[in-house]
Structure formats: structure tokens, C-alpha cells
Amino acid sequence: MGFHSRGFRTALVAVLVAAGSMLASAADMLKIGVVAPQTGPGAESGRFQVQGAKLAADEINKAGGVLGRQIELVIEDDQTTNPGAVLAFSKLAGDKDIPAFIGSIRSTQVHAMAPDILKTGKPVMIGGTDPQLTHMGNSWLFRCRPNDTYSARVISDFGVNTLKLRKWAIVHSTDAFGTNGMKNLAEALKKQGIEPVLVQGYTNNSQDFTPVALAVKQSGADVMGTYMTFEPDQGIFAKQLRQLGVKTGWVGSPTTVTTTALKLAGPALYGSYAVVDFNRDSSPEAKAFAAKYEAAYKSAPDIFASWAYDAVHVLALAINNAKSTDPKAIREAILAVKGYKGAEGTYNFDQNGDGLHGYNIVKNDEGKIVFDKHIDFPD
């Protein structure tokens, strides 16, 4: 074999010497796998995710890396589909040098990857907010966003205790996000002793919301909790609701205050509240992250970027604490992370693998998003 000939070896040594320490350190990179959508409808959110993760990796590398090694992100495209996510993860999992991964922000994709993650047996940081993900016996999933039980608890806590409103309507999309949100919110309200006067689902991309708006109007609700996935749906609903003269209070899921939602709905959403996991005014850490992100990419960060940024930091912290890249050691170290202040909030990992336990409440004040308060739960 030519590879073992003396000439080849001499040449190889020469190349190594010429490349110097650069090549040596490249071999010593600490690889982190990232599953992100780069094609398909989620391509743009995937760009945010990768940029957020890269920002964190660069910071860590500048500060000396992890266990003295530089972090290298290995990115695989999930095509914004479930089978795509499975392929992307299993491709990354085939690389034995990768000790941990950044997974998806979409819950169904995490579900799809979960069997493979269990088989691989290495930590995966996820952003999907379906509470089930960390409660189904898969001990390798670690969530860097508050799960939907918290969004529901914060919505109900804020509506009932701060706004002092008790006649609730729940409007939700019938996809996974909306249905779970509705279930959790109904449960959280039940704990407050409230039975919603209306629970109304709708299918994504409905072109008309008159029947839903009329149902809200007839129910006589004075506050509405919503889990709506797509901004156009939310915009059409908000407009038609206000046209029909319904003036209920509104506490919505994070999609209620995205830039697009504000642009589409305009005045129809003025005065509404929403829970968000990332808001730049919620903490000094969030502010700093936003500034750094803007400096690096010339655009404002959003939740797709912030959780990935935190995920890489938490992972680096855990590996440093574990002083090892052994998956089990990393797992123990992640679960031991307490009081780490990230862009999304303060991370106190519980035994399920949930890092965050609260949400920010923001208000749509004449089209501007204003930070109202942060509600955290001890459990």
C-alpha cells in the first residue's frame, strides 16, 4: 500500500511540519453535531439557529475552548422534515468523535429522532417545547427552552393574578404545538379553579376566522389564551375579532409577538400580551447576547438563535465541569448546572432535563414590544 511507503510518510511529515500547530489543533477539535434545517420551509429559522450556535462557539474558542480544545460545529441539514431529521442525526451519530449534539427546535422532529438518540446514548440539547419530550424515559434530551407547561402556567398566572380576569377562552391551532398548548393551559387554569368558557381549535392556514371570532364573541370571555402557529392565521383572526367588536384581553404564545405577527396584524394586536422565552430587555445577559449577535450578523436575534446560543454554552460548561467527553459524565454535569445565566433565562436543570422553568411576559404597546415581567416557577 502506497500509504505506508517511506516516501509517503516523509511527505506527510513535511506537510505536518509546514502546517504547524494549525493542523495539529484541527485534529484536536472538539466536535459538536448540529441538526438544523437548511433547506425547506424552515431554512430561515435554521440560519438563525446555526448563527446563534456559532456565536457561542466563537466566544468559547476565544476564551480557550473546552478542556483546552477548540469547538467545531458539524452541521447537518434536516430538510425541515421528520425523516430528514432522522437521517441528519444518524449521520452525525455515525461520527464517533462527536460527544454531544444540538438538536431541533421542532418537537415532532425531536420525537422522530428520539429512538435514534436513545440508541446513540449521547446528550442532545433540544429546543422543542413539547413537555412530553423530557418525560418519556429518554434520558439524553436536555431542553434549553422552557417547556409548554411553563408557557401555559405563565399565561394563566399572569391573566388570573395580574390582569385579574377569570372568564377564559382558549383558541389554538390543531397542530402539535397548538394542541399541547391548549391542553397545558386548560390544566393550568384548572389548578386556578377555572373552567374555560370556550376551547376552540382551528386548522392551520384557515383563510377565514369569522366562525372562530363569533364563537369567542358569543362565549362572553373577557380574556383569551392563544396558541397559534402561523402568523397569517393570527393576523386574520386578530383583525376579524376586532372588526366584530370583540375587546377581550389577550395573552398569547410566543408567536403572538414575532416581528412578522406585529407587521401582519398591525393595530389589531395592540394591547395584547404574550409569553416569550427570549426578550432582550429581560436580563443583562439577554441584552449582551442581542448586542453581540447584532454586531456579528447585522440583524436582530430571535428565539431560534438564542436557545442555540445558550445550548452551546451550557454544553461547554458541562463538558468543562465533567472534565471528560464521556457521554454519561457530560449528562451528569448538565443535570448539575444550576444558576447559569443565559440569554433565555437562568438555567437550573431538573432531573428530567429541563433547564428553564419560566417565561417573560411582554406587552404589545402600540406595535412596540415592551418587557413586562419574568415569571419563574420553582418546580
Binding site: P41, G42, A43, E44, T174, Q200, G201, Y202, T203, N205, S206, Q207, D208, T210, P211, V212, L214, A215, Q218, F230, E231, P232, G235, I236, K239, Q243, L244, G245, T260, K263, L264, G266
Partner: protein
Amino acid sequence: MGIALQLLFTGLGVGSIYALVALGFVLIYRATNVVNFAQGDFAMLGAFAMVVLCIDLGIPYGVGIAITIVAMAVIGALFNLGVYYPLRHRSFLPVIISTIGASILLENGVLAAYGPRPQSLPGMFETQGFSVGPVFFDSQYLLIVGVGILLFGLQYLFFEHTILGKKMQATSQDKEMASLLGIPVATMIMLTFVYSAMLGGIAGILVAPILFVSVSMGSSIALKAFAASIIGGFGDVRGAIVGGLALGVVETFGAAYISVPYKDAFAFLVLFFFLLVRPQGIFGEKISEKA
């Protein structure tokens, strides 16, 4: 009662959107015997063109509309040349598949060029509408109904009272006969595509303030519009209008009184019903193949 009236108004408004798009289907079907599965994407393109022109470039609304309609005419011509013309001598199946391909191409082309963020386009009126008693009349829906009536009227005049219109009609009825009469069939089909694309573009401009502007806005309307044209009687202009309006009303009432999440199913259940009981639709004639 107030609720029923409100639902009726909304249903007719939604229905007139379906009718506008269905009309484009019917015209192309009559000219070529082919269903254009990209008809809804013409609406999407028209709406995006308006966003680019009027929002991003700040061109006045009226000028934007004019440019958009001209651009749609060009797109219709290109569509004919690229998607239909090379396949004109083949059976309908390759053409259908080709238009499905065109639909994927258009949607994802716009997605790649403009990103997935939905856009908004302000309506043509300052006010959103007005209330009469318990019923709110959305000004944009009123505009759609008005423009719809106007277009149907103009179209009637065009096809029945101009030479060009009559030539196009002759082509759609019998291509061989038309070409024997010296009518340039290829040109007439080209004009049909141009007109359908313009019609789709106008539908897009009209619905954009209501549905917002997103890549998938066209295809979901188009499916309903297609169902509407079958219910009305395929290939019949009256059928497209009546089918569209009926579907809009059925869907809105079904959502309000039966189930909101299954709203999309009502349209298709009505369609199944018609296919079983009266496949030729409300206005259609009995289907038979010539030997």
C-alpha cells in the same frame, strides 16, 4: 340571526375569492382540456409582485397594479411556452404533472428569493369596513365582490361581442375546426394563458390584504377553487361562479355550526357528494367520450 347574516356575508366573500380563481381554471380548461394546477400560484405571484413594487420599492398603488398585471401577462406567456406548449400533443396526464411541477417551482422559487416570512399588503381603502346592525361588512370583501362582477361582465362582453373573443371561444370549442377556419390556434391558447395569469394576478392583489402574502397562499385557494369548478360544472363559467360562492357559504356555515378544525373537509365532502350523485356538476352536461 345576526350571526347567520355575518356568516353569509363572509361566506360569499370567501366564495367570490374561490370563484375568481376558478374562473381562471375554467378558461384554461376550455382552451386546452387541461387543468392548470399552478393557477393558484398566479395569485401568489401577483400578490408578491405588489409587495415588491408597492412596499419594498414604494411605487404608488395604482402604478403597482398596472405593472403587476402586465408582469402577470408575461408570466402567463412564459408559462404557456414552458409548461404547456411542448406537451400540447400529448395526453392530459403529462400536462397535469407538468403544471404540478410548475406549481412547486413557482412556490419554492419565490420562497428562495423572498424568504418564508409572510408579508402584508394594505387594502385599497382607508377604513376596514362598516357595521350595519350586528353585521360587519369588510370593505375588501365588498371590493372583491364588485371587481368579480365587473370582470364577469367584461369577460362576457369580450367573448360574445368581439372578434378576438369569438375566435378564442371557437378555439376552446373545437381546435381542429378553428384551425380549418384559419384561426391561429396556438396564438389563441397563448392568449388564454395570458388572460388566465392576469386574472390570477388580480385575484392575488385582491385577496392579499385579507389573507396576507405568503408562498402557500395560492395553492390552498386553488384546491378549493378547483373543487368549486367541479361542483359548478367543469368548463362552465356560470358553474365557476355559483360553485365558488356555494362552497364559500357551505364552508363558513359548516365551520361555525359543525366543526372549525374540519372546515377544509366540508368542501371536499361536498365535492365527493357531487361526484357520486351529479358528476357533471350543477351546470355541466353529461360526460361522454367521443369515439
